[in-house]
């Protein structure tokens, strides 16, 4: 695969806040195309806030988020909406629309933004659902699914428009080890088979080491990122005691 010269996502001098409370400051990192990038850190350190800024749900206090060199937060509303259509997001809870069936959840983005006919959309929905191992579940409502199935259905919806980037917010949270592993395998499969660029917010060590090939560590005390690189490399070479403590579950 040819790697582009410029990074796919570039974050420059990003400051995050909630009103007067500063969550993170001076974040600088890049994500390359086809990479699985992990945003890691302890609970409440600001990982999900950073994700909200990356996916266009929350405006940063300062700084830039560039997609293919284009500043998302400097763009006008219409351009932002267009750029957001290139994102697939799997929320922590799956966030399936509860009044729609699984099939309708996956079909909605296609109905909104594609020019496909009803039968073509139906076929695509089946394809996306089988991609995440949920074939035959199109007519079920989210309330009828288990937690793991709901996340996989959420992933099928996130993949509906063949996004350039897929964001995962705590994909393993609340899942048993087997379902979590299944989701990790799906992430790896997406990267290897479809060449997707993936950004994962997580603090699950198993997921970090299984899927990540680049990462940043957010430290809630210094309120900035204190490490970046391949998680396995960080485990062996980082000199930051917090990073080591985090990556070894406090055993070192």
């Amino acid at each position: 695969m040819d790697m582009p010269v410029k990074p796919f996502i570039e974050v420059r001098n990003l400051d995050l806040n909630y009103d007067d409370y500063m969550v993170m400051r001076n974040l600088n990192f890049t994500v390359n195309k086809g990479e699985t990038f992990i945003i890691m850190g302890g609970s409440g350190c600001g990982k999900s806030t950073l994700l909200k800024v990356l996916i266009g749900l929350k405006e940063p206090k300062n700084g830039q988020v560039l997609y293919n060199g284009e500043d998302f937060w400097a763009a006008d509303y219409r351009r932002q909406q267009e750029m957001m259509r290139g994102f697939g997001v799997l929320y922590q809870s799956g966030a399936l629309w509860s009044s729609l069936t699984v099939g309708e959840n996956v079909a909605l983005p296609l109905q909104l933004y594609s020019s496909l006919g009803v039968s073509q959309i139906r076929d695509l929905v089946e394809l996306k659902l089988s991609l995440v191992g949920l074939e035959g579940c199109a007519d079920l409502y989210p309330g009828e699914l288990s937690g793991g199935m709901r996340k996989r259905a959420g992933l099928a919806r996130a993949l509906a428009l063949d996004p350039d980037i897929i964001f995962f917010d705590e994909p393993s949270a609340g899942l048993d080890p087997i379902s979590a592993k299944m989701l990790d395998d799906l992430i790896i499969q997406l990267r290897e088979d479809l060449g997707s660029t993936i950004v994962v917010v997580t603090h699950e060590l198993a997921s970090i080491f299984a899927v990540g090939n680049n990462a940043i560590f957010l430290d809630d005390q210094s309120k900035t990122m204190t490490a970046s690189g391949d998680p396995k490399y960080l485990l062996d070479n980082s000199r930051d005691p917090k990073v080591i403590q985090f990556l070894t579950r406090g055993r070192r």
Binding site: M84, F87, L96, W97
Partner: protein, 377 residues
């Protein structure tokens, strides 16, 4: 009882106080206060050592740990050496662990009681913010309706039909019961005064005009605030909590267009129909009481009602219902969509939606009544 649990023996030779713990020291039994032990410090001011003797202790739990923690703290402050005699397994470790947890500090309570002026000021600021949020939301609704009119909005007919059913047919039972009873009450109250003049037949006028002009719409509005408005707030609040609304935004779909517009439309369509039905039920209630209990002639009652209720009354009533439909839908949707992401947030949103809707309905009724008075309608 406390003497049985705690006994003291002071040895003057080595200035040592032996504190013996007897029997069961568990949270479901009565535990003596630590002052019972510390009072010995006053009785024997030259204590240098305290021996915690647990030989006779038969069972213990965290209640003993708390007691010992407080006692040992006091000993440390007075430079009294603490020794254990036959401590049960694990107790020393737990106490040592408790004593080393000095890094946890409880912050002093800050007095946050506001003065009257501060409360008034905060109230005004809150109202200003609320007004800004409402105007912002109204702007979004107008834009979304604009897109709907020019055919650029995403509109799910199936879901809209379900909403119509939820806002209409499903509410018929409740509307029937309450409107019928309102008609009954109006007839009884009217009869009390009109009987004095032998003018009971005018009950038909009172019930007819009151129900058609305002009461039908107001009662339906209040019912729908508690029923449908609360349901909208809870539904959208839970969607906010479950990140479903975020999912719409990241897809580039305006949640107002997708969720709010159909709800407003459904209520605006169903409220006048429900009000017409409520009017009919109210008149029926008044009719039933007048004929059965007040011995009025049924034909005369119907004729009087027909003569009294003008079309203008009906239009005023229907205007009320349309305004109430908009108020209920906007209150419910606004509170739901701006709901905090917690169970209590959903509860607050629901309560706030109902209170806002009912208050606004009463204010709107007063305003419409005043306008009609000025216009002579």
């Amino acid at each position: 009882m406390s003497l049985e649990k705690l006994t003291f023996n002071y040895s003057q030779g080595d200035n040592a106080l032996s504190v013996r713990f007897n029997g069961v020291w568990q949270i479901f039994t009565k535990i003596p206060p630590v002052s019972e032990a510390t009072s010995q410090f006053l009785a024997y001011p030259d204590i240098k050592t305290i021996i915690l003797d647990t030989t006779e202790l038969s069972a213990w739990d965290s209640s003993l740990v708390v007691f010992l923690y407080k006692l040992i703290k006091q000993c440390q402050e007075r430079n009294i050496e603490v020794r254990y005699n036959n401590p049960p397994e694990g107790m020393e470790k737990i106490i040592a662990l408790t004593l080393t947890r000095t890094d946890i500090k409880v912050l002093p309570k800050v007095d946050v009681t506001d003065t009257f002026l501060e409360k008034v000021g905060e109230g005004f600021i809150g109202m200003g913010k609320g007004l800004f949020i409402l105007l912002d939301f109204l702007g979004e609704i107008v834009q979304a309706f604009g897109r709907l009119i020019i055919g650029k909005a995403y509109f799910r007919k199936d879901e809209f039909m379900l909403l119509l059913q939820r806002c209409g047919v499903s509410a018929l039972g409740l509307v029937s019961l309450i409107s019928l009873l309102v008609g009954v009450i109006l007839a009884f109250v009217g009869a009390m005064q009109l009987k004095l003049f032998g003018a009971q037949i005018y009950i038909a006028d009172i019930v007819g005009i009151a129900m058609v002009r305002v009461m039908g719409a107001v009662m339906t509005g209040i019912l729908m605030s508690g029923r449908t408005g609360a349901s909208f707030a809870a539904e959208l609040g839970i969607m906010q909590t479950n990140e479903e609304i975020d999912a719409f935004k990241t897809l580039g779909v305006d949640p107002v267009e997708f969720l709010v517009v159909p709800r407003i439309l459904a209520l605006v369509i169903m409220m006048p129909l429900l009000t017409l039905y409520a009017n009919l039920m109210g008149i029926l209630g008044g009719f039933a009481i007048s004929v059965s209990m007040l011995n009025l002639n049924p034909v005369e009652y119907i004729n009087h009602t027909q003569a009294a209720v003008k079309m203008s009354n009906l239009w005023v009533g229907l205007a009320h219902s349309v305004v109430f439909g908009i108020i209920i839908a906007i209150s419910g949707c606004l509170r739901g969509i701006r709901c905090e992401r917690s169970a209590s947030g959903v509860g607050e949103a629901t309560t706030s939606a109902v209170v806002t809707a009912i208050t606004s309905i009463v204010i709107a009724t007063a305003v419409i009544t005043f306008i009609c008075q000025v216009l002579g309608v």
